[in-house]
């Protein structure tokens, strides 16, 4: 089985009540049959291979979570086909969930008042993981992160970082073929982010787990993903390597100039449309340029450009 996930022309529409404003409007809404259809996902096709780490990006409300919910089988697509590990997720949600793991940002699947190790044991029994495999997994965890200090700590006493770490470990515990990570590093400090990134990449390479990562932190993307899928307003607008990303939407580079008043001026330049030399020449006519720097644009800036451009 080569592909972990295959999506073909998947659409998802929601029916929402047209709400009216004010008290009068609210009362009218009680009897209203005035629905409008919102397309959250439009005609998305996607193939994801085993062992890939995919950065699934898009501005807020682009349809990322909706897509993930369809992949996990919680939502049924309005049209199109989805296969996850050879299973149609919404038809066989229970069977599908044996082969996937999920971490949803701020929500925890751990047992709040119990020590982490009890949650692990419980998940082991729920997913029917053989004792040997369970022990190997815990051993692997030990080699990747320092879990001793949190293993016997009740989840409610953990810091956000520790809890997120625990949730990720819990999602990988039954060695699923695919793990969905929905903003796993949200609200974490720099060193914790780093720990979590190396944990994810470690687990991915050890177990060949497919990872679908949604995030707004380009640091996550740079550290983990080779391939990026960007979705906006429900449509897929980019699907390729991270290297291509920088050139795909134009050859962006940052030109920094120190002018006669000693201030640095920055300009983001699309080399496919603008000529750098020309810009420098024009500047020079007005002011003296003391110093020049030409920098590669960061992923973050490219993504920002894409989001802004796409939502115009």
């Amino acid at each position: 089985m080569e592909n972990a996930i295959v999506m073909k022309n998947v659409c998802k529409d929601f029916k929402v009540l047209n709400r009216h404003e004010g008290l009068k409007g609210s009362i009218r809404d009680l009897f209203s049959r005035d629905y409008k259809t919102i397309s959250a996902v439009k005609d998305v096709s996607l193939e994801i291979k085993r062992g890939e780490i995919i950065g699934y990006l898009g501005p807020n409300g682009a349809g990322k979570s909706t897509t993930i919910k369809m992949m996990t089988g919680v939502l049924e697509p309005s049209s199109g086909e989805i296969m996850v590990n050879g299973v149609v997720p919404y038809k066989e949600r229970t069977k599908n969930s044996e082969n996937i793991g999920v971490v949803f940002g701020q929500r925890s699947q751990l047992w709040w008042s119990l020590p982490l190790i009890e949650s692990f044991r419980l998940l082991r029994d729920i997913y029917m993981v053989p004792q040997k495999e369970y022990e190997d997994m815990i051993e692997l965890y030990r080699s990747l992160v320092d879990i001793e200090p949190i293993l016997h700590k009740p989840v409610r006493q953990m810091s956000l970082g520790q809890r997120t770490l625990s949730d990720i470990l819990a999602a990988f515990l039954h060695n699923p073929a695919i793990v969905f990570l929905d903003e796993p590093t949200i609200g974490l400090d720099v060193s914790m982010k780093d720990k979590i990134r190396s944990l994810i990449s470690g687990l991915n390479s050890e177990k060949n787990t497919t990872v679908i990562l949604t995030t707004h932190d380009m640091g996550d993307v740079d550290a983990l993903c080779k391939r990026i899928v960007i979705i906006d307003k429900g449509s897929k607008i980019y699907d390729n390597d991270i290297e291509h990303l920088k050139s795909y939407f134009g050859n962006y580079r940052t030109l920094k100039m120190r002018l006669s008043d000693d201030n640095w001026v920055e300009e983001v330049i699309d080399e496919s449309k603008q000529d750098i030399m020309k810009i420098i020449m024009e500047r020079q006519k007005e002011q003296k340029i003391k110093d020049l720097k030409l920098e590669e644009i960061s992923t973050e800036e490219v993504i920002k450009k894409i989001y802004e451009g796409a939502s115009v």
């Binding site: 959250a40 979570s65 089988g73 999920v102 729920i126 029917m128």
Partner: protein, 269 residues
């Protein structure tokens, strides 16, 4: 079905409930206050009736019945509706839906542990106190075994009713009103607040057939050996009613749930 995962869920539930010891003591204290109120209320009713036996029950009978009903209520009480509406609002329900077993089964076994704890921490102490105070008014024999069987059936009936109400809340997205209505109906018609013997004859006939009775009245009747539950001919119809409602509510609840879950839209996104 692998039994190990069910036991694991029960075990976790027991451990979780034991984390909240204080809650149990508060419950016991609140019960005490409630029972003092019940005592004086029914004492007034008996005093004004002029006879010692009302509707075939003496004052002591009524008190034992109501005390045990309260204890049973604490033990059987479930918060499925509350918990579910909270997890729908927070979106956490998606994590429970993504467990590799049916959601209903998962939910039921997640609660089982706390029932075990409640049974040991509130029902058994209450039972012992009643035994001491009444100098052994409750017969200790086979009725205890029948009572336990009947209680398990009551638990299932109660869970199914809770789940059906919780499923309705998927549509309404507001829970409070519906849950209050449900609780009031159950408390009134199940015998938890007024012994069913006190109902008018016509109402009694209807209430006897409803599922609510299967939750509190039947287990208590069996325990206290009323209404011919010492005889097999008296026991069988009661178990029959419980079993029938178990099946009906189970099937109806499952169908309703499976139909509804397809319509679920989890918040956020």
């Amino acid at each position: 079905m692998n039994g190990k995962r069910l036991i694991a869920l029960t075990r976790a539930g027991i451990m979780e409930s034991l984390q909240f010891r204080l809650g149990t003591f508060v419950t016991l204290f609140a019960n005490l206050i409630y029972l003092v109120l019940v005592y004086f209320l029914w004492k007034a009713i008996y005093d004004s009736s002029g006879t010692d036996v009302v509707n075939g029950m003496t004052f002591t009978d009524t008190m034992i019945y109501l005390i045990l009903a309260t204890a049973l209520f604490n033990f059987l009480e479930m918060f499925v509706v509350w918990d579910m509406s909270r997890s729908i609002q927070s979106g956490k329900i998606i994590l429970d839906l993504l467990k590799p077993m049916s959601f209903r089964k998962y939910t039921f076994w997640s609660y089982s542990g706390s029932h075990v704890v409640q049974f040991v921490m509130t029902f058994i102490p209450t039972f012992i106190v009643v035994m001491i105070v009444t100098h052994g008014a409750i017969h200790m024999g086979l009725n205890l075994v029948f009572f336990l069987v009947s209680t398990v059936l009551a638990l299932i009936v109660n869970f199914s009713m809770e789940m059906i109400v919780a499923t309705i809340c998927l549509y309404t997205e507001s829970t409070w009103g519906i849950n209050i209505v449900k609780e009031t109906i159950v408390l009134l018609l199940s015998g938890a607040s007024i012994p069913l013997a006190f109902f008018p004859e016509a109402a009694r006939k209807i209430v006897d057939l409803l599922p609510f009775r299967a939750v509190y009245d039947i287990p208590l009747t069996i325990l206290l050996q009323k209404n011919g539950s010492t005889e097999l001919s008296g026991l069988l119809p009661m178990f029959g009613l419980q079993l029938a409602w178990c099946l009906i509510l189970y099937v109806a609840g499952t169908l309703f749930w499976n139909f509804s879950v397809r319509k679920i839209t989890v918040n956020g996104g």
